[in-house]
């Protein structure tokens, strides 16, 4: 019966639930929401593409002389983040040297079609259905035959490249 008294006390207590659509909780500053890219600062070093565990960032890089300094520097023409695969692990944000990719406070990520979730940032849209295998330069450290997984990965890279051209 002791329990009954407690539930009665709770009946008259102030409610603690937040009415979500009307009241949106202010997120703490470290919270990892949707990713955005600040395109003009991007030096197209493809680091984020390499480190992303889910291969959801895919960049099409071109050598282009942007600011007339005569030297053609890498410039990312197409930049796509595929939110249907993104894990919000934050590794790309940590690895970016000029930290032009960062988290926003936005967390309502939904769309009727999975392809809509692939957001484009550069001039040219990048096809989200191709797995952007990052070009990992594999140093054959181990003299003995490299384990199968590495071959398997190299072979799928060939397949991806042929598929894309």
């Amino acid at each position: 019966m002791k329990g009954m008294v407690i539930t009665l006390k709770h009946l008259f207590e102030k409610k603690i639930t937040r009415q979500y659509p009307e009241y949106k909780r202010p997120l703490p500053e470290r919270s990892r929401g949707l990713l955005t890219v600040d395109m003009d600062r991007c030096i197209s070093c493809l680091q984020c593409m390499r480190v992303c565990p889910d291969h959801c960032i895919s960049i099409e890089m071109e050598k282009r002389d942007v600011d007339g300094s005569g030297k053609a520097r890498p410039y990312s023409v197409g930049f796509m983040i595929d939110d249907s695969r993104c894990l919000y692990c934050g590794m790309c944000v940590e690895v970016c040297p000029v930290n032009c990719i960062y988290h926003t406070e936005e967390y309502e990520v939904q769309a009727y079609d999975r392809l809509e979730l692939a957001r484009q940032f550069g001039e040219r849209p990048v096809d989200p259905t191709v797995d952007p295998k990052p070009a990992i330069k594999k140093k054959k450290k181990v003299a003995k035959k490299a384990p199968e997984t590495v071959d398997q990965r190299a072979e799928t890279v060939q397949r991806a490249v042929t598929e894309r051209d």
Binding site: K2, R30, S31, P53, C89, G90, V142, T149
Partner: protein, 394 residues
């Protein structure tokens, strides 16, 4: 030839003398037999996707055969295709109610491989976060035990406590559940300034809430006692034989706790006592979990009092490339002993990662203990194990 003998036939339960009836002598002359019932994958109190093929003789269960694999994402295969740091977000998703412990276990294994020395402040923060995770995992699990007995209210009080701790996690790590905070060699970032006071006050208020909402609401309740006392009773030998660890083992009286017997991280310079009980039934597991909440609060306070200074990340290169060999990590997660065995072949992709998740082993309890109980007793016995489907399915 050997190949065929090894391949048993399909799901029809192979080669097992099935004790057909509870007391065959009485029932046989009436020609009654048991009903095969499917407590199927989609069932409100199965803690996730689990299918129990139950053979019922009236209300008593004659035989129970858990079928798992509905949430099997094969974390081990995924871990074999990612670089070492990229596997950490994967381990988060194994036991999604004890994420911090999963990360901690994997990072300990890789650090054992790299034999890198984690700075003391990182160790202290890791233990602080793991104990907060234990609180955030035990409060709803007590709520689940009661939800399955039919009391719908305590689970919401449990989740109110968990919500408050998740706010702390979000402020420190950036995410509410999938933290990706513990990294190989340390911790992603230091605690924000006001965090120690905030944690202290939150933990203080939690003890009072737990006392009022759980202990008073449930302790003397006759129906709760009637439904859980003596249900799923285990002796110590039986528990050890089944390889149980964590609260299910400690509720039978065996005081094994990885934090004390295989010390890791900051635990040596924090004292706490291992909560054990003697009964070995559902009510004992409730008491053990309640005791562990109090112990975790005690540990958190000790860590907060003497939080060491210093940086939080050892100098580990971004491209972790451990030497060839094996690394072992063992952690006490809220559900039991969680061990990670990493085998590396020198490249920056792990060659083989084996996760020993506590729920995979604790689920054998269902196969051994359930026969002989009533149908509604399946719930409190599941409450002893308090499994998480991501953890038993890996």
């Amino acid at each position: 030839m050997l190949r065929d003998e090894r391949r048993p036939e399909s799901a029809a339960l192979s080669g097992r003398e099935t004790g057909r009836l509870a007391n065959p002598d009485v029932r046989d002359e009436f020609g009654l037999e048991t009903i095969d019932m499917n407590m199927g994958p989609q069932h409100p109190s199965m803690h996730g996707l689990l299918r129990l093929i139950l053979e019922l003789d009236g209300e008593t269960i004659v035989r129970c055969d858990p079928i798992m694999g509905y949430l099997h994402r094969s974390k081990e295969k995924i871990s074999e295709n990612r670089t070492y740091p990229a596997v950490v977000p994967i381990t988060d998703r194994i036991d999604y109610l004890g994420n911090m412990h999963m990360e901690h276990g994997y990072c300990l294994a890789v650090e054992d491989l790299l034999d890198v020395e984690v700075p003391p402040r990182a160790d202290a923060i890791r233990v602080l976060m793991c104990e907060l995770m234990r609180l955030a995992s035990h409060t709803p699990s007590i709520g689940f035990l009661l939800l399955e007995l039919g009391a719908f209210t305590p689970i919401l009080y449990g989740f109110r406590e968990r919500e408050r701790i998740q706010d702390i996690f979000e402020a420190v790590t950036g995410a509410r559940m999938m933290f990706h905070y513990i990294r190989i060699g340390g911790v992603k970032a230091d605690l924000p300034e006001d965090m120690p006071e905030r944690i202290w006050e939150r933990v203080e208020s939690m003890e009072a809430n737990i006392q009022r909402d759980f202990v008073d609401l449930i302790e003397g309740n006759e129906i709760f006692v009637a439904r859980t006392r003596g249900v799923g009773k285990m002796t110590q030998e039986k528990a050890i034989e089944m390889g149980l660890t964590g609260p299910p083992l400690r509720c039978t009286g065996v005081d094994f706790d990885v934090r004390r017997d295989y010390p890791y991280g900051w635990y040596p310079n924090v004292e706490f006592d291992v909560v054990t009980d003697t009964e070995g039934d559902a009510e004992a597991s409730y008491r053990v979990r309640l005791g562990e909440i109090k112990q975790s609060v005690r540990i958190i306070k000790q860590v907060l009092e003497k939080l060491p200074e210093g940086e939080v990340m050892a100098d580990v290169s971004r491209r972790v490339r451990p030497p060839e060999g094996e690394g072992f990590g063992r952690v006490e997660s809220p559900r039991g002993e969680y061990a990670v065995h990493v085998v590396s072949d020198g490249s920056d992709i792990p060659y083989r990662v084996h996760y020993r998740t506590p729920c995979t082993v604790n689920m054998q309890l269902l196969q051994e203990i359930i026969p002989g109980h009533y149908l509604p007793d399946v719930m409190p016995i599941m409450g002893i194990v308090d499994p998480v489907s991501g953890s038993w399915d890996k």
